[in-house]
Amino acid sequence: MSARIKEYRGTYVSRKDLEEGRVPAVRDKPEARYAWAAGVAMGRFLAELKEGRIIGRRCRRCGRVLVPPRMFCEWCFRPTDEWVYVRDTGTVLTYSISHLGPAAERIEEPIPIAVIQLDGASPGVGMLHKLGEVKFEEIRIGMRVKAVWKPPEEREGAITDILYFRPLKEGEGQEGGE
């Protein structure tokens, strides 16, 4: 606001005004359908998920193991060098608990989610997924987790072939660590 300006324009209307026709409105529902080619790197990643494995790519110049994989390293701007399997265990880097669905609608059962650094991926290289079999108040940054997979016959080559990550039990996944 400038103290010199006396009037600011704009006319507030409510959602009801619009929906009940008090303000003229035109409605449309654009139909746009897509089939995305998964690409070279993600295509392999999704195919490996169907087999119950998680794969990344290593860049020999910076040494990073990238998960999800890509065929080029955005740091070094050169092709990555080799496929590397990583484990399905990892460490929570950060987490939250969603009470909202994709359209900001309230959902009945809140969903815990996390960015997880899988064992074998480079430090700080995380992947987004859901958590499960855990009480919300027990979730911690640094918590060790393991993937819970769909049964093999139900997998379709999608990120959802992993249902969620659950806390590691005593004695499981010792090779990892924060």
């Binding site: 606001m1 400038s2 103290a3 010199r4 300006i5 600011y8 324009r9 704009g10 006319t11 507030y12 209307v13 409510s14 959602r15 619009l18 303000v23 449309d28 654009p30 897509y34 995305w36 998964a38 993600m42 999704l46 990238l66 999800p68 955005e74 880097l93 950060t94 987490y95 939250s96 608990i97 969603s98 009470h99 909202l100 669905g101 994709p102 359209a103 900001a104 609608e105 809140p110 969903i111 989610i113 996390a114 960015v115 700080g124 290289v125 995380g126 992947m127 987004l128 997924h129 859901k130 919300f136 940054i141 999608a158 990120i159 959802t160």
Partner: protein, 397 residues
């Protein structure tokens, strides 16, 4: 020529803005026209004086109209002129004046109109549904992601690394929503809001609650930029654009540590170098860091190097502490406009609102919002996309 090879000095000579509201009757074109006309009128010029127009507006999906820049062109004064739309997500509002600046600094144009618009209300059931199409279709969308997820994950990481508490972060929402009481365009001003109100508000995506978030809004804002020789004829109070910077990090947002926005720091370093600023907290008198969420003000003030990493809320325990440090008469006034949390968040227009605020603050025209430290230098910043873009403008009276 400056150190960065800048050919000409550029000044802001006029600014305009509409009301920000959850839903406005006017179309995006009509709102753009209101803001653009006000900017031209306050600069004392007409559209005939304008050499080129730069448009800023965020995703097409909000309006459901592709080629949104062209759709808005007539309302923005772009008819039969060099006209271009720029877009870097939430960073667009501060990137629009940057693009307008290089139009003039290059020597190509003497007067450029920069207009930013957003109309989020057209999208049903909620603009967040359109927002989810920014997510990777293979990795993220199948998980049912909501846009707030990524900010909740970032806020959690920030709190964890620095040991910052939600009670402290909530003071930022209180400050901005109270500040907004003095902004005539504000959507969510609240003179009585307390930290307890924020902490008691509905949980959206923990640790983010309803009052931690800015609202969806409709609105527009605009400025007029002029080359030095023109600006000096148009006004006795030009506000110079002395530094611009921008930087984008990778779209693979899960592959970086979210506790600190390094890309904002790089954008700020670029702008500060150009403006000759060596000690930001000493040399900057007023700041408008991007605050779509309350924690983002802290995150961005740190990225702007106005405080050390993790120290924005050091010793801030309650409402009084935050006003003492960052209120209009505080140590360093931050978001005196009321920010996105208070004035509203019509994406691109919200960033431009921050540019307008610094312009009015440095001109001493901010009325009840005027900061008390006789400001000479101000900084505005925006941020967006998948937590990956920083845009920064330094201005001087």
């Amino acid at each position: 020529m400056s150190a960065l090879g800048v050919k000409r000095k550029v000044a802001v000579v006029g600014a305009g803005i509409t009301l920000f509201r959850r839903r406005l009757k006017e179309t995006g074109r009509e709102l753009s026209f209101y803001a653009a006309k006000m900017a031209l009128d306050t600069a004392g010029i007409t559209l005939a004086d304008v050499d080129a127009v730069v448009c800023g507006t965020a995703p097409d999906a909000f309006d459901g109209v592709h080629m949104k820049g062209e759709y808005l062109l007539d309302g923005m004064g772009g008819h039969k002129k060099p006209f271009v739309r720029v877009y870097v997500g939430g960073g667009t509002g501060v990137f629009t004046p940057i693009a307008a600046w290089w139009h003039v600094a290059s020597g190509h144009f003497d007067i450029v109109l920069a207009v930013a618009e957003e109309k989020m209300s057209s999208c049903f059931p909620h603009p967040q549904k359109a927002f989810t199409t920014i997510f990777d279709p293979m990795l993220t969308r199948p998980l049912g992601a909501n846009l707030v997820w990524i900010f909740a994950l970032e806020m959690q990481r920030y709190m964890h690394v620095h040991g910052v508490k939600k009670e402290q972060i909530a003071t930022i929402a209180v400050k901005n929503k109270r500040n907004a009481v003095d902004h005539p365009c504000a959507q969510l001003a609240d003179p009585k809001i307390t930290v307890q109100d924020v902490l008691n508000s509905e949980v959206m995506v923990w640790p983010v609650q309803r009052l931690d978030i800015s609202p969806p809004s409709d609105g527009a804002a605009a400025i007029v930029l002029a080359a030095e020789h023109v600006a000096k004829r148009l006004t006795n109070d030009p506000v110079w654009i002395e530094g611009v910077g921008w930087c984008l990090d990778s779209t693979y947002w899960t592959n970086r540590d979210l506790y600190y926005p390094k890309y904002v720091e790089y954008a700020a370093r670029m702008a500060y170098k150009m403006a000759g600023i060596k000690n930001p907290p000493k040399e900057i008198d007023v700041a408008e860091p991007y605050d779509p969420f309350d924690y983002k003000e802290a995150h961005h003030a740190e990225g702007l190097m106005l405080v050390r990493k993790g120290e924005y809320l050091k010793d801030v325990k309650d409402e009084n502490d935050i006003f003492a440090k960052y209120g209009r008469d505080g140590d360093l006034p931050i978001c005196p406009s009321g920010g996105l949390l208070g004035v509203g968040n019509p994406i691109a227009a919200a960033g431009m609102m921050k540019i307008c605020e610094i312009f009015w603050q440095l001109r001493k025209e901010a009325g009840k919002r005027q900061v008390k430290n006789d400001p000479r230098t101000g900084v505005a910043q925006a941020w967006g996309d998948l937590m990956q873009v920083g845009t920064v403008v330094v201005m001087r009276a």
